[in-house]
Amino acid sequence: MNENEAIVFVVDDDAATRASLENLIRSVGLSVHAFESGQEFLRVKRAERPGCLVLDVRLKGLSGLDLQKRMATAGVEIPIIFISGHGDIPMTVQAMKAGAVEFLTKPFRDQELLDAIYQALERDRNAREQRARVGELQSRYESLTPREREVMARVVAGLLNKQIAGELGTSEATVKIHRHQVMEKMAADSLADLVRIADRLGIAVSK
């Protein structure tokens, strides 16, 4: 994936600060999209590309921490770098606990911010890849028939074919066929591979 694909969002209600942040981020060749308020940021439909958010803690209206909370509730996953005029410790702790990448106090060194941005973008990229992989596995899983899912759940739970057949009230040969289908559809090379996939999908081992 290309660095240029990434985008940095900036939310700061002070026009001069906003412009300076935009300028600084652009000077290292990153795309920037700046907003005056949290609400404005939430309204905009963002493209599916790696990104991060540089967020001022003190905002008129929706504060930075509130915006962070709201995004977490809405399932919007984007790494956040907080900037603040004067960061007090409780506020910093709260922000970091809620998953912020960095908490910078103004005025900060340009490199500090840029390092934080690179780190945040990297994190977002990984998360996206992770999400994409899980998504693929999910679609593979969805291609399984209900019977195959039942068999898979029991296979990853460590049951032998004979036991599965007994539980499901079918012959061992049928279970063998289902099992083969599951391995193929889920693109699993081995039983261990399948267990890993099931773990990622969060398939509960039902007995």
């Binding site: 002070d14 412009a19 300076s20 942040l21 300028n23 600084l24 004067h86 005025p107 340009d110």
Partner: protein
């Protein structure tokens, strides 16, 4: 009764003259008290209540006399004495009428018929003797009865007296108990409220009353009795004695009540604060006789007040710092924004230039300039805000303001043992009103006083004197001096004193005098300090006056 008769008989063995007979009767009556004591009680009551018994008694007396006479007495001596004795007995125990009956019967028997004694009757019957006997008999009967009645009345009133005496005794006991109880309540109340009561006579200068609580309060031993006025005075803190003496003297002169607060030093050296209230007592001529009053131990209250005051001072200090802190934070935040923008834009500028992007570099530099200007604007705004904040001005009498502040500072002055002298020029023509912010002027004066107090509290030796003067200077402006007897000021300090954050105090902020000067200057006046010729320093400030106002008032 028989006893009595016998008694009389023995006493009258050889008495036959009428005089000795009367003597026998007197003796009989004299001994009646003893006899009556021997008469059984039931018989006495019977006699008193029933006439039948009394008459029977009279008859019995005469019959006994007759029997004695007939039996053997008559042979030895004349019968008159025996009969008189029986009349006495009848009158004494039976009353008037039985007495008369006995007398009549005796007369009849003696003078008329004595059985077996005809010769005696015939020989003795003569008119004078008869009359004498009758008269004597009646007189004895009457006298005895009179005596008896009088005794009965006496007995009755004695009884009544005893009864009322007993009642009185009981009442006294009751009242005593009541008094004792209310005294106990009073003592309890005095001890609870730490309030003693006392009294002293003005003319003789002696203490007339000194309650238990007073003994405790002043540390006297109750066993050694009431203290003298001198002993009382000795307990007063030496520094408070003059004040107390003056107050009391004035109260005596004006014949008025007085209240007083002073310190008491106990024998063990502990100090108590006493609040004393005295009430003047006058005699019917309107002359002052006595002062009675209370002495309340207000040590705890004083201590609480002192703590409260300290806390208030601390709170004020903290509030001042907090306000300053808040102001600083807000200024810092305002300035920080453009500062951060400058750093960002300058950093970006360098990066653009490094990347040979001259256009973007130029644009960034322009942004830096813009942000710089913005920061300048903010500072200018804060400055103008600080400067132009219009103070609500009112026309103020500076002396009034000084007095108000002194009222605030009295406690502080007293605590630090500083004597205050004020020389306020009170002539309205010479001391015109000034247009000023009252609160700000109060702050300045209070600040100068507090500085003086702090300076003097570090001085261990010598007197602590504060002098506040108001006057006009040559130009007609008001001049106020605050002069202390503290350690004074070094020459180089005189100029630096008013610099912000310059302080000589360990806990000072170094803002007080700087603020004072800015307030005075905002009023168009001047504030400066000078070293005294003797000890200490003087702070002076001037305030220009409103010429029109002076003219109007003049």
């Amino acid at each position: 009764m028989l006893n009595e008769a016998k008694h009389l008989l023995q006493g009258r063995q050889n008495c036959s003259s009428p005089i000795s007979q009367v003597g026998a009767i007197v003796t009989g009556i004299w001994s009646r008290r003893a006899v009556m004591a021997e008469v059984p009680h039931y018989l006495k009551t019977k006699l008193e209540r029933s006439p039948v018994w009394r008459y029977t008694l009279a008859l019995l007396c005469i019959a006994l006399a007759l029997l004695l006479h007939i039996g053997f007495v008559g042979t030895v001596f004349r019968p008159t004495g025996v009969f008189l004795a029986s009349i006495v007995a009848a009158a004494l125990f039976g009353g008037a009428r039985p007495g008369f009956l006995a007398a009549l019967l005796a007369t009849f028997i003696v003078d008329g018929y004595v059985p077996g004694r005809d010769s005696f009757t015939a020989a003795d019957l003569d008119l004078p003797r008869f009359l004498t006997f009758v008269t004597t008999g009646l007189a004895v009967g009457w006298g005895t009865n009179f005596r008896r009645r009088a005794e009965a009345a006496l007995r009755h009133s004695e009884l009544a007296l005893r009864k009322s005496h007993d009642e009185l005794e009981m009442k006294v006991a009751e009242k005593t108990a009541e008094l004792r109880r209310s005294q106990a309540y009073l003592a309890e109340a005095q001890s609870l409220t730490h309030t003693g009561s006392w009294g002293w006579r003005v003319a003789t200068r002696e203490v007339t009353h000194w309650s238990e609580e007073c003994f405790r309060l002043y540390g006297f031993d109750p066993k050694s009795g009431l203290p003298s006025l001198e002993q009382w005075t000795d307990r007063v803190h030496p520094e408070d004695r003059d004040k107390r003496r003056q107050t009391v003297r004035r109260a005596i002169m004006e014949k008025a009540d007085y209240t007083l607060e002073y310190r008491v030093v106990l024998p063990d050296g502990a100090t108590r604060h006493v609040h004393s209230v005295a009430h003047a007592i006058f005699d019917s001529a309107g002359e002052l006789v006595e002062f009675v009053g209370t002495a309340m131990d207000v040590t705890e209250r004083k201590r609480a007040q002192e703590t409260l005051r300290k806390m208030q001072v601390e709170l004020a200090h903290v509030a001042r710092i907090a306000t300053l802190g808040e102001l600083t934070a807000s200024i810092a935040h305002e300035i920080n924004q453009p500062l951060a923008a400058i750093v960002n834009n300058a950093s970006a500028c360098l990066r653009w230039l490094t990347g040979q992007n001259i256009e973007e570099g130029r644009r960034s530099a322009a942004l830096v300039i813009e942000d710089g200007h913005r920061a300048g604007e903010i500072i200018k705004r804060i400055r103008s805000f600080a400067k132009k904040a219009p103070a609500p001005k009112e026309r103020i009498d500076i002396n009034q303001t000084i007095r108000e502040v002194i009222a605030f500072a009295t406690m502080e002055l007293e605590t630090n043992g500083i004597s205050l002298e004020t020389r306020l020029t009170d002539d309205v023509h010479y001391l015109p009103l000034v247009s000023a912010d009252r609160i700000q002027l109060q702050q300045v004066i209070l600040n100068l006083i507090m500085n003086a107090v702090e300076a003097m509290s570090s001085v261990k030796e010598g007197r602590r004197e504060l002098l506040i003067r108001s006057d006009t200077d040559d130009s007609g402006a008001i001049l106020v001096d605050v002069r202390d007897s503290g350690p004074g000021l070094a020459c180089e300090d005189l100029h630096r004193l008013f610099t912000p954050f310059y302080t000589t105090k360990p806990q000072g902020m170094g803002m007080g005098l700087a603020i004072c000067r800015s307030i005075i200057e905002a009023h168009g006046g001047r504030l400066w300090a000078s070293a005294n010729e003797g000890a200490g320093a003087t702070f002076h400030f001037t305030l220009p006056t409103d010429g029109a106002e002076t003219a109007k008032r003049a």
